[in-house]
């Protein structure tokens, strides 16, 4: 079994899916000859040709909109939005159509579409290249949203997303693209859409998170175990919608303490939804209020401020210590 990073894992998965099923087509900006700005589609244009790896005009609404049509028309399109900060012209397609076609057609049409979106910060990117806008996608009925935080999950969730009969937004944490390698098998990997992953078992406090923040949480958990004997459990949601509230509840019922960690701004962030689910499902087990560690409610700043904007190890460790001190 080969060790690989997330970019290679996603690239290999796309290649396998395209070889397996002639209906799978890729479309997006620079996905063809250039292999994508992050090289995720490297080599696919050479292998499968320009009719299946389609370099599109710069038009995000038409990328998602035409992919909706392709999906209804019998293809299995995988659209790429180059950065999440460029998704917004396509929001009308996502809000108005992508998740509504099933209901509006009384189930006659489904939209088996995957939209891949590199997202998130912490990589000294230019302005508006680091957004984390998952909450508004999760708020949209009729779609699914997944975020792998390991190369293995990236492969498994991409298989699941492409095979899903309904539209799936596939978020790729940019910071994790080349951070960490792990063994990923050739061929199909089974990671269903839905179940969260217990990334680390622990007894004292649950940290619920996703995407790149999962790695921050792991580092903090190791530090605190070593230096303070604190046992942190980490829930990597992996699927944001539909959310695995059962695994969250199970963990919090065990530890009695919960911290939600995300790199998106705080207000109306997805953390609020996680906190609500804990309140509904694990209130009587709580020993302390649920805390949120998030970015501030400011536009993603130029990168000189980035290290203060993104949640830090210090802030997460502080929140964990406070929860245990209550």
């Amino acid at each position: 079994m080969a060790e690989m990073n997330a970019v290679t894992a996603i690239n290999q998965t796309l290649s396998e899916l395209m070889a397996e099923d002639a209906r799978v087509v890729l479309l997006g900006e620079d996905v063809g000859k250039n292999g994508g700005v992050f090289r995720v589609t490297e080599g696919l244009w050479n292998r499968f040709g320009a009719r299946r790896v389609v370099d599109t005009p710069l038009a995000e609404s038409a990328i998602v909109g035409s992919a909706i049509g392709m999906a209804i028309g019998g293809l299995r399109p995988i659209a790429e939005i180059q950065f999440m900060g460029f998704l917004y012209p396509a929001l009308n397609q996502i809000f108005s159509h992508m998740g509504r076609i099933g209901q509006r057609s009384s189930g006659k049409f489904r939209v088996p579409l995957v939209v891949r979106i590199p997202y998130g910060g912490g990589i000294r990117a230019p302005e508006q290249h680091a957004d984390s806008a998952e909450a508004m996608l999760v708020h949209t009925p009729g779609i699914k949203v997944v975020v792998p935080s390991t190369p293995y999950d990236a492969k498994g969730l991409l298989y699941a997303a492409v095979e899903d009969p309904d539209p799936v937004i596939f978020l790729e944490p940019i910071k994790l693209y080349r951070l960490g390698r792990m063994e990923v098998p050739q061929g199909r990997v089974n990671v269903p859409i839905g179940p969260a992953r217990v990334a680390r078992s622990g007894d004292d406090v649950s940290v619920i998170t996703w995407g790149a923040m999962n790695h921050l949480a792991m580092e903090v958990a190791e530090d605190l175990a070593r230096t303070a004997g604190i046992s942190v459990e980490i829930i990597d949601l992996r699927t944001l919608k539909p959310m695995d509230t059962e695994t969250i509840a199970e963990s919090v019922q065990k530890t009695g303490r919960a911290i939600v960690l995300h790199e998106a701004p705080r207000t109306a962030g997805l953390g609020g939804e996680v906190v609500a689910s804990i309140q509904e499902d694990a209130f009587w087990w709580l020993k302390t209020p649920v805390r949120r560690v998030t970015a501030a409610d400011v536009p993603y700043p130029p990168f000189a401020w980035e290290d203060w904007y993104m949640p830090t190890k210090e802030r997460l460790a502080g929140a964990i210590r406070e929860a245990l001190a209550d």
């Binding site: 609404s61 999906a71 099933g102 057609s105 006659k108 539909p242």
Partner: protein
């Protein structure tokens, strides 16, 4: 200087294209135009009686709606806007479903028709038509996609993105724009600074055609030609059909607030698309004397039946709201459904809140 965008006409003294429509098709087109007019008048009355919700009639646009749709094959994809029930009907959607939609009781599409749900946000369905066409072409299927929209729709970004995409990929798609003069209360002169809408085709390297939208046979032929071009691999066509919205935007507005009566009068009477086609077909002897009257009487019976079917439909049930959102309902959503059924289920059994 010759007009770069001559108006394609088949009927009338200024006809510039020969009539290539088979007489039996011409009669069917006339029949469906009468049906559409009858249906619109009936449904407007239903709305006034409070039996259906807001309704957008297509009074005056029967030639564009019906003529264009008759040029399609059943396998062609149709991406309509909300005022296209005439085209939907020709493509296989029963009028009863249009009434159900106006009653707030669900989808306007049904049966075997390759028709997308009517798009409400303006022009947002144009990219779908491009994608459907690209899929057909990639799957080696010999059919096309057509999108219906209005003059106001040409101001939206999705119109421009869709035409640009279609041009670049030479997608077998037809953009059928009914320029009916008004986007609710705003005239076309305030939508664009260009003298025509069709000339926007040039900017995207796609074929453009301007047609008399009140000439049903011209609409039929111009779409047929665009379809043949698309299937031959010659790419998309933007069609501007010049017509007029005789009625309101929907039953919720009053055109007298924003539109001069004299303008309306120019488009009724001799310019009425049904009158024009009837006189033309009678002149050729394709419609026998008295046949038009019989068609109108039959239309009333037919439309009444379709309306009754919808009005007599079963009340909606709670679970249908959840049923098709996902192919398999996720656990959390099933819990929300159960909660509603637990609290409101008994009421639903008696006809529901809106029975």
């Amino acid at each position: 200087m010759p007009d770069a965008w001559p108006l394609y006409q088949v009927i009338g003294p200024e006809a510039n294209h020969p009539d290539r429509v088979k007489p039996e098709i011409a009669v069917k087109i006339f029949n469906d135009m009468v049906l559409l007019r009858t249906f619109d008048e009936k449904t407007i009355n239903l709305q006034r009686q409070g039996r259906v919700g807001t309704f957008p009639p297509s009074l005056g646009q029967e030639a564009a709606e019906i003529g264009s749709a008759w040029a399609l094959e059943p396998e062609d994809w149709m991406a309509p806007s909300y005022r296209d029930h005439g085209a939907l009907y020709v493509h296989g959607v029963p009028f009863s479903h249009v009434v159900l939609f106006a009653m707030g009781k669900g989808s306007s599409i049904d049966g075997v028709a390759r028709v997308l749900p009517s798009s409400i946000p303006i022009s947002s369905h144009l990219p779908h038509a491009v994608g459907l066409a690209m899929a057909a072409e990639r799957l080696n299927q010999a059919h096309i996609a057509i999108a219906y929209f209005g003059d106001g729709g040409t101001s939206e970004g999705d119109f421009h993105e869709a035409l640009n995409f279609a041009g670049v990929f030479r997608a077998p798609v037809i953009f059928f724009c009914q320029n009916n003069g008004w986007a609710i209360s705003v005239p076309v002169s305030q939508q664009t600074a260009t003298p025509t809408l069709v000339q926007k085709a040039s900017a995207y390297g796609v074929f453009g055609a301007r047609v008399d939208g009140n000439d049903a046979l011209a609409c039929y032929q111009v779409v047929q030609e665009a379809r043949a071009r698309a299937l031959a691999g010659d790419g998309p066509t933007l069609i501007e059909a010049l017509t007029y919205r005789i009625g309101p935007h929907t039953t919720a507005d009053d055109p007298a607030r924003y539109r001069p009566l004299e303008e309306l009068e120019q488009w009724t009477g001799a310019k009425d698309p049904i009158v024009r086609l009837q006189e033309y077909l009678e002149g050729l002897g394709i419609l026998a004397p008295g046949e038009a009257l019989r068609i109108r009487q039959d239309a009333t019976v037919f439309v009444n039946q379709a309306v009754d079917d919808a009005l007599n439909s079963a009340p909606v049930e709670i679970h249908s709201m959840f049923e098709h959102v996902y192919q398999t309902i996720p656990r959390g959503l099933a819990l929300q459904r159960e909660e509603l059924e637990r609290i409101h289920g008994a009421m639903a059994g008696k006809g529901g809140l809106h029975g």
